[in-house]
């Protein structure tokens, strides 16, 4: 494990004393020629070098965004520097860098906005804190707009409802268009278009992986549970993050989805074309990419002739799907109107539990005491069900229906006040490991405290990024990587299928 100073955790949260420039060095790899051009972004001839005429282009793009997105215009104008957001960001709490106070991070763009788009800033820049757009300002933006995971916790506390995530997205998009795209996201998105998913798992690898899963489940419980791919005429299309095929504990969640579908007696399929729920177009603030990625789901649903679409455990995918799927890739008039489009797997499972059609043996999870990590995008941008707050109650209801031991973390760290895992929003890359470890501090602190006070042993999550991020950072905080589990992994443990061999 690399050598970073791990932030301390305390019995109660402590707001750190500021350390100027503590994270000024943090900056993810810039996309090189291959990834910039795959994405249709310009390349200057040298990685990280700005294109000719970058300044004019940046201001032109800014003008475009300000007129296209009224929200951005309002967010640039309306902040009164009240300070309500300053101590709400996990990256500020974990790094103590004052630029990671959401107001200061947004101000990197706002200062430039004032200089070129307001009367006062044009004529009296110093009086209003307006600055010229220079290469140093661009570099600082690149660094700090990649120290925001677009989680929107600060927006919950902002009296004006300023959405920092939107400012970050706008900034990242403008940066990419002057030659400063981020390698991680810009390497991944083209794989979705070329192969079908973020990981670049081609169809034969998917087939092999899913066949392996079927064998494994049959060996384990003696029931042939199917994990079908590209099966025309199935009722349900499951769209899930490709990490569910690849990583742990994600794959245990996928096993769980299959068991629930099996028990519910529905036909379902996954698709090699839409073998990715994630939509990194959101992270880089690129609407066109968001649309293109979403359209793959539409194409797959049409080709396979399904009647319903269900999303697996993925945080930002659900935000995109829940809020935008209809605008991006609708209308969905060819699907069964009796079901929500799209539906979340947890809503499906909860409905099955409520109707009593799943046979559950809760004691299978008795070796664990669970807590639940609300994923930021689900908590602050969606519902899982049709009632306000159902994004909080549905996952907890499912966990409690399959586990005897559950305890929530401290109230100011869950539900709409949940902390990001530290790796969301396109930051789940090794070159940002220091930031990821430090940004995990508030969640790690809350988890440690609930473990000490209530004997919690495991934390369940419903997002591929959260699961991968915690697997990586838990050991830095003195815990173990297997303490993070998928919610449907818990369902999988407890569900008893017809004909299943039991230990008794």
């Amino acid at each position: 494990m690399a050598d970073y100073k791990i932030p301390e955790t305390h019995e109660f949260p402590i707001i750190p004393s500021i350390m100027e420039g503590a994270m000024a060095h943090s900056s993810p790899f810039v996309a090189g020629e291959e990834f910039q051009s795959d994405m249709g972004f310009p390349f200057s001839g040298e990685t990280g070098k700005l294109i000719d005429g970058w300044k004019e282009r940046f201001l032109e793009l800014m003008q475009e965004k300000l007129s296209k997105y009224r929200s951005l215009q309002v967010f640039m104008d309306i902040c009164v520097k009240c300070g309500a957001c300053t101590d709400k960001c996990h990256y500020f709490i974990g790094t103590a860098d004052p630029v990671n106070m959401p107001v200061a991070r947004q101000d990197l763009l706002r200062k430039v906005y004032r200089r070129y788009f307001t009367f006062a800033g044009k004529y009296f820049p110093k009086l209003v804190g307006a600055v010229d757009l220079t290469e140093d300002v661009i570099k600082q933006m690149y660094s700090y707009y990649h120290q925001c995971s677009e989680c929107r916790r600060c927006a919950v506390f902002c009296p004006f409802g300023i959405d920092t995530a939107e400012v970050t997205m706008a900034a990242r998009d403008m940066l990419a268009q002057i030659g400063m795209g981020q390698k991680y996201s810009n390497q991944i998105i083209p794989k979705v278009h070329k192969i079908g998913n973020n990981l670049g798992l081609p169809e034969p690898a998917l087939v092999d992986t899913l066949e392996g899963l079927e064998e494994e489940v049959e060996e384990d419980i003696g029931v042939k549970v199917r994990y079908p791919l590209d099966e025309k005429g199935a009722e349900i299309l499951l769209v899930t993050p490709s990490a569910d095929f690849f990583a742990e504990p994600h794959i245990d969640g996928l096993i769980g989805y299959g068991k629930v579908f099996h028990a519910a007696g529905v036909t379902w399929t996954m698709s090699s074309k839409a073998s990715e729920a994630a939509n990194f177009g959101l992270f880089i603030g690129n609407y066109e990419q968001m649309r293109k990625i979403s359209l793959r789901i539409r194409d797959a649903a049409k080709e396979l002739g399904v009647k319903r679409i269900i999303f697996g455990e993925c945080g930002h995918a659900w935000r995109v799907a829940y809020n935008h799927l209809n605008t991006l890739a609708g209308p969905w008039d060819f699907l069964d109107p009796n079901y929500p489009v799209p539906q979340h797997i947890l809503e499906f499972t909860k409905d099955c539990l409520d109707r009593g059609i799943l046979n559950i043996n809760k004691s299978e999870n008795d070796h664990m005491t669970l807590t639940f990590h609300d994923s930021c995008n689900i908590a602050r941008a969606s519902r899982i069900g049709d009632k306000p707050g159902s994004q909080f109650t549905t996952p907890r209801a499912v966990i409690k229906a399959v586990c005897n031991n559950f305890h929530d973390m401290s109230a100011d760290t869950i539900q709409d006040q949940t902390f990001c895992c530290g790796g969301g929003g396109g930051l789940l890359t090794d070159d940002l490991m220091e930031l990821r470890i430090k940004g995990a501090q508030p969640r790690m602190e809350a988890l440690k405290n609930v473990s000490n006070d209530h004997g919690v042993t495991h934390m369940a999550a419903i997002c591929a990024i959260c699961k991968s991020q915690f697997t990586k950072v838990l050991p830095y905080y003195g815990m173990t990587m297997d303490q993070i589990v998928s919610v449907h992994q818990l369902v999988s443990n407890a569900i008893v299928l017809e004909g299943q061999e039991t230990d008794e």
């Binding site: 494990m1 790899f29 390698k183 991680y184 390497q187 991944i188 794989k191 998913n197 973020n198 990981l199 670049g200 798992l201 081609p202 034969p204 690898a205 092999d208 992986t209 392996g212 899963l213 494994e216 993050p241 490709s242 990490a243 095929f245 690849f246 990583a247 742990e248 794959i251 994630a278 993925c314 789940l428 090794d430 070159d431 591929a464 990024i465 991968s468 990586k472 990587m481």
Partner: protein
Amino acid sequence: MPIEVNGKQLEVDEEGYLANLNDWEPAVAEVMAAAEDQPLTSDHWEIINFLREYYEEYQIAPAVRVLTKAVGKKLGKDKGNSKYLYELFPYGPGKQACKYAGLPKPTGCV
């Protein structure tokens, strides 16, 4: 920033992954591992060779579960788990072992 293997300069990316898969030879793994103070035993080589074979067939590194299952079959059930793999490759079997095997780094939400 190329690495030197058997007198040849081989191109690698920012994170040290081989730029050109065809440049790989066993000495590449030795050089990369030595740079990270990671001794390579025959147990490590079992994994590296499996990764290369799998990649040859599927053009992607195997899923963790596929890898642990294969290891379990070959080396015994007690080794067919990710704990064993992390003991061998503390930076993560997916990433560290892939690097030594000359494969591209798995990207995405992993």
